[in-house]
Symmetry: C2
Subunit: 541 residues, 2 copies
Amino acid sequence: MRIGIGQINTHVGAIDTNTTKILQRIEDAKAAGCDLVVFPELAICGSSPLDLFWRDGFVEACQAALDRITAASAGIGVIVGGLAAERKQAGSNRDNPSSLSDGALINLYNRAFLVEDEAILGHVDKQHLASYDVNCEGRHFTSGEGTSVHEFRGMTVGINICEDLWIDDGPTDLQASLGAEWIINVSASPFYIGKYDIRNRLAARRTKENNVGLIYVNLVGGQDDVVFDGGSFVFDPKGRHVFQAPHFREGLYVVDLNHPKPVRQEHSSDIADVREALVLGIRDYVRKNGFEQVILGLSGGIDSAVVAALAVEALGAANVLCVYLPSEFSSADSHEDADAVSKNLGTVFQIIEISATHRALRNALPDSPTGLVDENLQPRIRGTLLMALANQHHALVLCPGNKSEIAMGYNTLYGDTVGALAPIADLYKGQVYQLAEWFEELIPERIRTKPPSAELRPGQRDEDDLPPYEVLDPILKQVIEANASKRQLLEQGFDEAIIDDVQQRIRISEHKRGQLPPGIKISPKAFGSGRRIPLTNGYHD
Amino acid sequence: MRIGIGQINTHVGAIDTNTTKILQRIEDAKAAGCDLVVFPELAICGSSPLDLFWRDGFVEACQAALDRITAASAGIGVIVGGLAAERKQAGSNRDNPSSLSDGALINLYNRAFLVEDEAILGHVDKQHLASYDVNCEGRHFTSGEGTSVHEFRGMTVGINICEDLWIDDGPTDLQASLGAEWIINVSASPFYIGKYDIRNRLAARRTKENNVGLIYVNLVGGQDDVVFDGGSFVFDPKGRHVFQAPHFREGLYVVDLNHPKPVRQEHSSDIADVREALVLGIRDYVRKNGFEQVILGLSGGIDSAVVAALAVEALGAANVLCVYLPSEFSSADSHEDADAVSKNLGTVFQIIEISATHRALRNALPDSPTGLVDENLQPRIRGTLLMALANQHHALVLCPGNKSEIAMGYNTLYGDTVGALAPIADLYKGQVYQLAEWFEELIPERIRTKPPSAELRPGQRDEDDLPPYEVLDPILKQVIEANASKRQLLEQGFDEAIIDDVQQRIRISEHKRGQLPPGIKISPKAFGSGRRIPLTNGYHD
């Protein structure tokens, strides 16, 4: 049995484009002698269209796409993720316009179809809907019911969808008990650090527990704040890893189930994975939104240097415009360092002085600005200039904010937060330094070693305003990723005054995070759509 | 039987403050001779704490609050909305850190407790979780199971929670069939236009269908992008409206169920309701976030004039700072009109010229800015100045954007979109004019009649750039609130070229809406947390 793994990069909502890609891969699979080709969850519409599911005509367009795919299945089996809808019989809140506009009268299913020889042989609906983190499937879908297996060319297969694989005593176990020899899981599973190992452990456990093989087919590509990493794989019924598709690259990968070869585990570094995720996330965000070029302010510091290096890797140096926007507080080192990064990367480098505008703003204000008020003027001028350049060049601005400063509100809203995408928004400052090591030939050593500074006042350093990052980052991780309370942080040995300061600053900067561009998720818990904290919040612990 | 309706304004996460308020109302109810006092859904923690539910210690703090409430129930029955949690037995996705940090091992229940004489007599869990529009209860809660009724001082009552009342053949019907004489529904139901009538029709239907009375107790107060409007009521088993609490005002309202008096329906105008909702929404957002003062740019146009009038009604004239920020394109009329609004409202009026800063920015840019690039500089200067003033005065900036311009992207990100709150973001332009009529003594007639203009270039008018609002608003309403496709819009008789332009502009401005301050929901479908459209979106219909 030859299986084609259609690890494709879809475009949310671009149903025709996705379908054309699927049809092409079906032809490739036929040419490669495959019995069956498998595409990811929601491959037809991309993941996730969110409230587009409810747009008049959306489900019908997906149905028409499925018809095209079915018509192309002569001589080959195809498993593809799509949609199905039916009118609801009862129980819905049909008096409330808010619920009606959100599909209250429709049951929508996240469905995988099995087709062959121009006919639909069967389908399976997702049973366990993911409603945690960035997922809100309960908003759109009804849970499927019943467990089934399918006979395909002499093999008994159990098809299930993403989350259904992860549930103990769930669909996989039931399908195995119904005689499935192979489980085929179609997924749209986003990347975060360590996810490969987590999936591998799960796959080894599920297959051994149930004496069943697993073909896991994952989506690839960036979509707003998440990157699907692909990395489809096969485990045999003995729990051995017998096939591994590349991460972050689309393609048709062919596996012969009759001739399994144990996969040699390659060592993969967390930060190397992050680099790949961010590069793909930047490239797909920019291009799928119809742009080619990006602009960013190079400050001479590490954050913008890393973002520039990632952008060049994603889009090519010709598509990255670096702008140095010095003020009276910018050091000669900063100028040199920004210039060096841009030269090393081979990008255009522009210099725009902000002092004259700064003076004009200071003069315009009735009360002469001091302290933070005056400091905030400077990044806002830079933001305005970058947006003007972006308008002129039909380019997107990249925001250089990192997770540590975003958590602490150590940024200026409408200033250094400006941009269409914030590529390193989910990297703690320590991780930014780690990532910079991967660009050591491009990012001068001084940038990687000098003390960080926003350079908004003479002699300013981050450490005057924040706890040292090696202290701060672990506290932030506990609070953001583990919902830690003060009591727990004290038990973990953190200093009480620092805990209080950090918790307070996270709380009062929620409104800033509400107005940031999307980041790219690389941790189990990023800011953005996966973390929903009220702005108005009287909770102190 | 005397019932106290504890229609309170809670503060999300401020568990101690809310509990103190509940205890005070219990004492008031005792003093008023009530048998039972009823508080809204999630009254203990406010609605909605969202991911704060998962913070270590949050559920325990709610439990401790319930203990205080129970201890205060000597001689009186109390129904109060709170939380309960239990460890999950199986089925959870315990391999995925993203799900673990989101409470994968816990079943959390949205629970109403019935207590009396220092003991918990019973509880009911919400069964139908709202996961549409602004609601994401499936993210946090597990559905309750089983239907129960309670005996209380000789009366059989069925307690249920918010959405459970709205479901046909749902908990209300089952409780009636189990002998409930009265349904007590505790809600946290947000306002939108027409909601009073929708609730009344539902209440009349449910009570008549089941020959059961209904005591409906709703939360009051603003929380970020929603306003809970209170308006608690009682319908008798014959479907007659026998009690109505005020909208938008907290208080303890006492009803004697033995002496029902039909309520005289007062005519309420939609826009009058909107005015009350926005005033409360502004006041609560500002004050619950620890501020007293707001700042806004008065342009001389209608949007900012209406926002200023609302702010003065919410916070008092002394707490509203109006700033006129003219450029070379600002007309003498605009200056006069802005000045007149401020004078009429009695606020401070400041004038800050932006031309010098505009020149400085123009000179700083390597390529002289023209067209839209140059136009965008001006609102961004204004945004920067307003934020500086806000920093100086410890005030919040109010954003004057309306739903029509936000839908069309007819605004400048980081410019006129700047602010902590956008009070009229859910009002189409036509509704802004309607609302202005309610302030006719405060807003000069010229503002209410002159053609709208952003004044970013000589002689600019909105109608040069957009379809006339009387054409635009109905199309927008169809697309935003009814998910209308092009086919449907054509069937409704709209012009094809205008449809294409509007749909295209809505689509390409999604990224701007992703970075706006919260608006205040007054329609069934507002932008913001209740509408989730991907930024990267290839869907055209």
